[in-house]
Symmetry: C2
């Protein structure tokens, strides 16, 4: 059955999924890159960027799994880019096509949550960005239709995941805990109780640079 | 040089060092035991309780290290017991001698932070509990004098560690992150920034059931 899932989502040991002050130079916020060491070094990630090296252990295996059977993504606007306010109101404006160049690593429909309408953006490699202004339920409905029975991956960032979590719409979360403290940024857990939301740990494994935990919703085990 | 350190302190993936509602039946709060799987199964812990089995991998090695070169402990009153208010005001009262029986696993002086005075308590096996009503700085001073050049271990719980952290008095913290979410209880990180307090990750290793991270204070590296 099709799942709604969070995959390979990196979190600091103190609960932050991104650093503060995201901007053009810091897509993941200050020090945000440090959360992703396990992923950035993996062969899967290196291959996405045309490389042939990288680690081939547990971290890599879980990175690979995170891309399997994904029929559509949903992401927040800040995961799509640093633009705030109306798309045309600042220097990058409508010309902002995401952080990933002409051929983004999605290769399926991606639904971007935003309050600011924008025409659909067709990229190379089968990635299409749809800008959804009607809220998370609408984005999910559209993503389900697009995914044709495959899973929906809620990509992030923290705010998007928290919205889907509190709405009870997530079946499974794979978190990768990195051994660094950030101290500030976007906190995934603050004020939320995963157990109260129905989640318990269903799998765990240690990679080379992260602890991987899969939390499943009670209704989906 | 003598260090002031937190060792083998278990934390859930969402930052809790103990569950809620500590009482006589739940010394670590509800579900608190789940944070300590890595420790409870270790040969070191089993031996402390007269057993001869247990794991002998990385988790066990770090459990063993947590007891090395400790000249004195400082613990909060709730780590010592479930008694609240004056010692004699409830059923266990003055007769409460800690969770650990006649021969507690400390074998050195232990300074217990409390607002309620109580005579020093001498136990078997060289453990003596001193009840300190003059605050954390006084407890540290007394512990240093007692430790005779060995390290001071800030045992916990969360509130005690946070008090010493924010006072800038901790040199090193070994946290053991367990792959479970608690959702409620005593949060070690909420409202604190370890980097702002001067801590960065100096070592990490994966055990069988926990991710071990050692954070060191900038002044002590």
């Amino acid at each position: 059955m099709s799942k709604i899932k969070v995959s390979a989502f990196s979190v600091s040991l103190d609960g932050f999924g991104a650093g503060p002050n995201q901007d053009l130079q810091n897509p993941l916020g200050l020090r945000g890159l440090e959360l992703h060491g396990w992923l950035l070094k993996s062969a899967v990630f290196q291959a996405l960027h045309g490389g042939s090296g990288g680690t081939r252990g547990v971290d890599n295996e879980l990175a690979a799994r995170s891309f399997e059977n994904v029929g559509a993504w949903i992401i927040g606007r800040n995961m799509f880019g640093p633009v705030r306010g109306p798309w045309s109101a600042n220097e990058t404006g409508d010309s902002w096509n995401g952080w990933w160049g002409d051929d983004p690593p999605y290769h399926v429909p991606v639904f971007v949550l935003t309050r600011h309408p924008r025409p659909t953006l067709v990229m190379k490699g089968n990635t299409t960005f749809y800008f959804v202004t009607e809220g998370i339920a609408s984005a999910l409905e559209q993503a389900k239709a697009a995914a044709q029975g495959q899973d929906i991956r809620i990509g992030g960032g923290v705010s998007t995941i928290r919205q889907y979590l509190t709405a009870g719409l997530i079946d499974e979360m794979h978190l990768a805990l990195s051994p660094v403290a950030l101290g500030e940024g976007e906190n995934l857990f603050a004020g939320l109780s995963l157990p109260a939301l129905g989640f318990t740990t269903s799998q765990m494994s240690f990679g080379e640079e992260a602890m991987h935990v899969i939390l499943s919703h009670a209704s989906k085990k």
